[in-house]
């Protein structure tokens, strides 16, 4: 995506791994070369102050209760009980300390805060927020295990979508069409699984459908050099219209035949799935859920540890240089975009094969755009995108829980949170999100 004049000059040697922690050793020297801004420390301080006032001083006087174990666990842990007011004070003081440390670093040594700081800050902030929300509720008790498991479930399509974004944008093609890929995958999964009575074939078909949507994006943006954002926006409308049309004409005519895909079974790994909290999220998932973990790992390794990944990133950062070295820039982009679409398609199948066992119009409900946000917040890195997507899944899940337990925070604001955070992220207030240098710029071989 084009940035303003402040963005790094394309000619500047860009670090191959701008977003990965493992590259820390090499980055230490280059960090000081970049201007260190006040933005991050000041933003952290502002957030910490807000936390201190609301979660601490104005915190509820009740005790928040978090159930940890669920009935099926093979050993039971006692529920965590946190006095809301006290923990609010303690946690917000920790937040103030972290923000103060960042400010001191900037003021005295002109240094960027260490990489762990924003992450730790986020975790502490979320915990303080959670205690505050639950403590202020009419029934101050929720199941932590259920909350986290629900978050992961809701995050699955977002993770796949953001992985699709990472694959495309690392190769230099902006993918606004994630929403369309998810929707296309969801529709095709439902249709094929219904016709064949085999959800696994539906899963496969979803990947193919996502790839097809992506191929249109690739064809128009690479071969016909149409602006990638235009193609993406229009593709979303096209897929929405197409699936809506076919839903009304084909699926509605005989829902038994065309729109009853059946669900993918939940595969329960014995013993391991009984571990409290992490058991259900890691070892009690559908195929799509397990595939999510596999996809995150595989794509991360492939992008950052293999020759293929190096080439893809080269194409996304500096296509001329890549071309000079004999990498087929446009072919690489084409297949990367196609692969990304397949990944998003699998994510789309989650809607119709795991969450609900039928297709409805607009079933993806804007999650493709949240996935886009997760990718940006995760700094174009599969693992970062994974955690950002989890955060968004968490916000999504908390929103529905909040409406049930009755808290002072309106659920609409919880739903709004991911988008606000993303705006802050792209505005550079919470760390720098830098897209690949050649992202969105078509490559015409000269």
């Amino acid at each position: 995506m084009s940035t303003t004049a402040t963005s790094p000059v394309p000619g500047k040697p860009s670090k191959p791994q701008p977003g990965t922690p493992p590259a820390d050793k090499n980055r230490k020297q280059t960090v000081s070369a970049k201007p260190v801004t006040w933005k991050l420390p000041v933003t952290l301080m502002a957030l910490a102050t807000v936390a201190f006032i609301f979660f601490g001083l104005l915190g509820p006087q009740s005790t928040a209760k978090f159930g940890v174990s669920s009935g099926g666990d093979f050993f039971q842990l006692p529920a965590i009980e946190a006095p809301a007011f006290l923990s609010g004070i303690v946690l917000s003081v920790i937040l103030l300390g972290l923000a103060g440390y960042a400010l001191v670093l900037k003021a005295q040594k002109n240094q960027r805060p260490p990489r762990w700081l924003p992450a730790v800050f986020t975790v502490v902030f979320v915990v303080a927020f959670l205690i505050w929300v639950v403590g202020g509720a009419r029934t101050p008790s929720i199941s932590l295990a259920g909350l986290i498991a629900g978050s992961v479930t809701l995050a699955v399509p977002i993770v796949f979508g953001s992985l699709s974004g990472v694959l495309c944008e690392r190769a230099g093609v902006v993918n606004i069409a994630i929403e369309g890929q998810l929707l296309g995958g969801a529709f095709t999964a439902a249709l094929v699984a219904s016709l064949t009575h085999n959800p696994y074939l539906g899963l496969l078909a979803a990947a193919v459908a996502g790839a097809l949507v992506s191929m249109v994006l690739a064809l128009f943006s690479i071969k016909y050099v149409v602006n990638q954002i235009i193609v993406g926006v229009v593709l979303n409308v096209l897929v929405s219209g197409l699936t809506g049309f076919l839903f009304s004409t084909v699926m509605q005519s005989d829902p038994e035949k065309y729109n009853s895909p059946g669900r993918l079974p939940i595969i329960d790994i014995p013993v391991l799935s009984g571990i409290p909290v992490i058991g259900p999220i890691l070892f009690k998932q559908s195929v799509v859920g397990y595939l999510m973990y596999v996809a995150v790992a595989v794509i991360w390794i492939a992008l950052f540890k293999t020759k293929w990944g190096l080439r893809v990133r080269a194409v996304g950062e500096h296509p001329q240089a890549a071309d000079t070295l004999g990498i087929k820039v446009n072919a690489t982009r084409f297949w990367n975009v196609t692969l990304g679409g397949a990944v998003a398609g699998i994510g789309g199948s989650f809607f119709t094969l795991v969450a609900i066992d039928s297709f409805t119009k607009e079933i993806s409900g804007g999650r493709g755009f949240i996935a886009l946000a997760a990718m940006i917040l995760g700094r174009w890195n599969p693992i970062g995108a994974f955690f950002a997507a989890l955060l968004f899944g968490f916000a999504d899940n908390l929103q529905s829980i909040v409406t049930i337990i009755g808290t002072p925070v309106p659920s609409q604001f919880m739903a709004m949170l991911p988008y606000v955070v993303t705006v802050f992220a792209v505005a550079g207030l919470v760390g720098r999100s830098r897209p690949p240098a050649a992202d969105g710029i078509p490559y015409v071989k000269g």
Binding site: M1, S2, T3, T4, A5, T6, S7, P10, V216, F220, K223, Y224, V225, V226, N227, I229, I230, V231, V233, V234, L235, V237, L238, S240, G241, L242, G244, F245, L246, F247, S248, T249, V250, S253, Q320, A321, N330, K361, G366, F369, L372, A373, I376, P410, Q412, F413, A415, M416, Y419, V420, T422, V423, V426, A427, G428, I441, P442, V444, K445, G446
Partner: protein
Amino acid sequence: MSENNEPRHAAGPDPDRIPATQPPKSLAPDPDANLETPAEDDAAYVTSLDTAGGAHQPSAVPVSAQSGSLPGAPEEESLLRKIFTGNGIVTILAVLLALILGGLLIALTDEVVGTTSTYLFARPTDFLAAVWSAATGSYVALFQGAVFNPRGVGAAGQFAPLMETLTIATPLITAGLGVALAFRAGLFNIGAQGQIIMAGILASWVGFALDLPMGLHLLLVLLAGVVGGAVWGGIVGVLKARTGAHEVIVTIMFNYIALYLLRYLLDTDLFQRPGESTPISPVLDASAVYPLLFGSQYRLHLGFLLAIAATVFVSWLLNRSTLGFEFRAVGANPKAALTAGINVSRATILVMTIAGGLAGLAGVAQVAGTEKVLTDGVAATYGFDAITVALLGRSSPWGTFAAGLLFGAFRAGAVQMQIQTGTPIDIVLVVQSLIVLFIAAPPLIRAIFGLNPRKKKAAPAGKSQKAVATGGAA
């Protein structure tokens, strides 16, 4: 409008700016030679225009998506010529092709077609007749619902569909103008949806909560809506100008923020209609709504005249004002504009503010004209349709106006089509997006219709001789 900005002719900027305005200026004398030749659509050539030979990043909106006139070029006079040269033909063919594909889709899912296809080889004419009647039946119904209904009662009834088309086109045109204006300055305003919502919130609140005399009330409603949209768009401009945050991402996020804010407000006593459990606001006061243009039998309201006025305003702004010249210069080449002494940040903020205000006008048209209440569906999909409207209109004000009318007709007609033939409204989305896709890729259209002016195929577009111009980019 004109008093705050002395209307200097676009081609005559400050004398001290002239030496540095060379990139746009050098293209200005004969833009048609550069842009209207068949070569314009050669993909590589477009890119070379966009990147000034690869010297810098392309502007957000490719030259091909803009209306084809660079700063200083007279636009109106070439309208007729455009129709008869490449662009016009491509537009018409794109619409035609999209309609054909949509018709095939309708036929494909038609039951009669399905049954006749089982004996396709025995009596192929049955099959073809079924395909024809399915597709044309839907389109005839679409036309009757959008323009002229011969079965209507009297002239008033027969032209009722046309009035409905104009009503629906009103928000499409104004929001489309907002998107188009931002396009011309090289910005992607995906946020019309959110801007409409914010405008709707403010305008409706002024409309039902305040008690003011006739005239003044409506004026305040209008003002509140425009300000709401302008602020929502302006924030994006500020973020873009100050922090470099990409406007596509920010506007998408702002759409959702506005939507959830609206849903929250409709849940509060401030906005929810008393005694109502559904999220709906009180009806706007009679003094706060647009007067109807042709009496109470049609829904067409004053908003349509304002949409025409907005089109005139944007046309004047872009082609006759200094500000518009700056916008277009920034859109054509931000670096050259910066060198020429144009304040790019200021232009970015201003263009997003005005674009937001225009989308805000669409929001006002919704709450003070068509709907008269605020619900969470106030923006429907107008904000997203506005993008396709602006793209189809090639970002020129009157092009956007025409595209808004066309898509308004699709929308209005689709309702009738669904009632008469059972064809779902979604077909309109398919046809709309196909039109825009095809228009964006003229080589594809040329290849399909065998219109390629040159001997070589469109396929190896990326490797044509023109690409040499982008050569020494590295």
